[in-house]
Symmetry: C2
Subunit: 367 residues, 2 copies
């Protein structure tokens, strides 16, 4: 293997695939990146056997071949190289010479043949998803993915395309986040993608210009972004029927300024954050929302003017759930809908229904 | 105690004094900030008994008094307040009401009378030091302060003013950093200031506009920056006679581009950083500097063109010491001076002598 490229291309390609490289593994070769020159193309690949990322590196191939180089070393080294042409040449016994201007590195590689292959995913179900839309849908839902794996299917996000709607859903038993957008009407996809895969695709998208092409089989999903592709396993099993959970009617309906409510919740959180349930209380009456929190540190009282229809209500929440949901909303105003003090709160846009956040209340005993 | 101020003034004043507040202490009151209203002035103070910082908070006093409030809580709380007027009022039993717009916090304080007093430092020796000069002199020397306290005096920086020269010196037994600047001719000061105090004054200076007024007694130093003052203990004992350590002549003299040498050292460091002595080798001959490093990871060879007079030389160093010193230099080119492969290297400006970095070589056995 022998090829030339530039420092900046090398840095970018290494950054792209490094996200899939194992940091803790019992298989040391997975701590490396596979460099592969075939015909006149150069490919880099990293995998931890859960996800795999492969990208093309622009350059000129003088001799085909492949080698695995330490991801940590090649990442640091490439960033420190002079901003110039880089020549990479495979020598005997997987020793690799990297030269750039007046610097010559000889590093010990491992046999390219020993590196796992990137799985072939020839999807039966395909969809093109606009980059910015996909990024925002991930960002605005992923915080609701279950942190514990008591119910394994909840450690992923449901990606559902049907009836011309593209939806992402996450729920953890205490709250639910749902975002949707219009899409092509003739595609049907319903897959549960692990949280980490969604995080990595989110990060990859922030580095790339192109939209995402998604292709899924029964067990795996392939994301293609320009010259970069990422393969991941899917979570197996039936996702919870989330539509059943979302209440369809309400007895108390509030319209409130998002930022004002968020700031109040953040202040209330200061008092209770080190506590067990992060409990803050909300009292709605006479178009005023009072927020109360107290602990050994002291107590807080906030009041916010709101538009209110329906019955007065006293209810309590884990403040962090409210803060997460409100941070994900970019609308200036939102609607909150309630039925009773032991039923979930639904957060919706004032117009339309492109997002739904649902938060279960905390039962508490009034002193 | 009752006063009003603004959110932004409160945030700034808390930030200023918080640097002195203890995070780990057996005396819980030291985790707090003293709020004190006297006449029409408001002061905040934090101390960990090693250093103390006191600053004035602009506002209007309605009732004198004092209270100690949790630094962590008041810092987070003040940042989360609406950008508006803030009212702070001491109630019964050190309970304190903080109100801002529609937010009301009741927090439990502690008695202001129990907080330690700020020591009075009426200095016999005084100097005015320009802010930017002081900042750069600290930044460009402090990395050479001894990390271990085997020789306690070396855990501080020598601040010496004599003969119209202002000098800061740090040395740790392996390297020395010396920066100097012109100053008023009639001041004589020689004090050893703990590293942490220097770090804190450096940080304080980055927040303030004013120059520093320094006032020292035998045991303590007072820095005054506008309405903020900081008191610190001094290190006791005689500082090492650093002038004796710096060689006055050389047999090999090199002029080299600073950035080029730094980049080469940083690349060489990649190979040996996880090793014991971080050893890189330098070979000077025929106006070329070769840098070599090797480890299990591989080996590196760099060559840099240099201006050279005197004898060829092979010498080895801890690369981190070279990197630290080169990062502190803003000159495009520097001089390196050597005598033998077991004698220190001296780094100097091409013109003048406003900085001196000295690095001891590492002995090594040629394979």
């Amino acid at each position: 293997m022998q090829f030339t490229t530039t420092k900046i291309s090398l840095v970018n390609a290494v950054n792209t695939v490094q996200k899939a490289v194992s940091t803790k593994t019992t298989l040391p070769i997975l701590e490396g990146i596979l460099f592969e020159a075939i015909d006149n193309d150069i490919y880099l690949m990293g995998t931890d056997m859960e996800i795999g990322i492969r990208t093309k590196l622009s350059g000129n191939v003088y001799r085909e071949g492949k080698v695995v180089l330490s991801a940590k070393l090649i990442s640091e080294l490439s960033r420190k190289l002079p901003d110039d042409e880089v020549k990479i040449e495979l020598k005997e016994n997987n020793k690799t010479l990297i030269s750039c201007k007046n610097s010559e590195f000889n590093i010990q590689g491992e046999a390219g043949e020993d590196f796992p292959k990137m799985p072939e995913v020839v999807g039966e179900k395909n969809a093109l998803i606009p980059k910015e839309l996909f990024r925002s849908l991930i960002k605005e839902t992923i915080f609701s993915v279950a942190k514990s794996d008591n119910i394994p299917i909840l450690t992923g996000e449901l990606l559902e395309i049907s009836d011309g709607e593209f939806k992402i859903v996450a729920l953890d038993g205490y709250r639910l986040a749902l975002r949707k957008a219009k899409t092509e009407p003739d595609i049907e996809i319903k897959e549960v993608i692990p949280e980490r895969t969604m995080m990595e695709i989110y990060r990859l998208l922030s580095m790339k210009e192109e939209d995402v092409y998604l292709s899924a089989t029964k067990n795996q999903v392939l994301f293609t972004i320009g010259e970069t592709s990422m393969v991941s396993n899917l979570l197996q099993g039936e996702y919870i029927n989330y539509k059943q959970i979302i209440p369809s009617n309400s007895t108390t309906k509030i319209k409130v300024n998002t930022q004002e409510l968020l700031s109040s919740c953040e202040r209330a959180a200061l008092m209770v954050r080190d506590g067990k349930n992060n409990l803050i209380k909300m009292n709605f009456s006479d178009s005023v929302l009072e927020i109360l929190s107290n602990s050994d540190l002291g107590n807080l009282h906030e009041s916010i003017d709101v538009d209110m229809t329906g019955d007065p209500l006293k209810i309590a929440f884990n403040c962090n759930y409210f803060i997460d949901a409100l941070k994900a909303v970019s609308e200036e105003e939102i609607n909150l809908e309630f039925t009773t003090s032991v039923s979930p709160c639904v957060i919706k846009p004032v117009d339309g229904d492109y997002f739904t956040y649902l938060i279960l209340p905390v039962r508490y005993i009034e002193h």
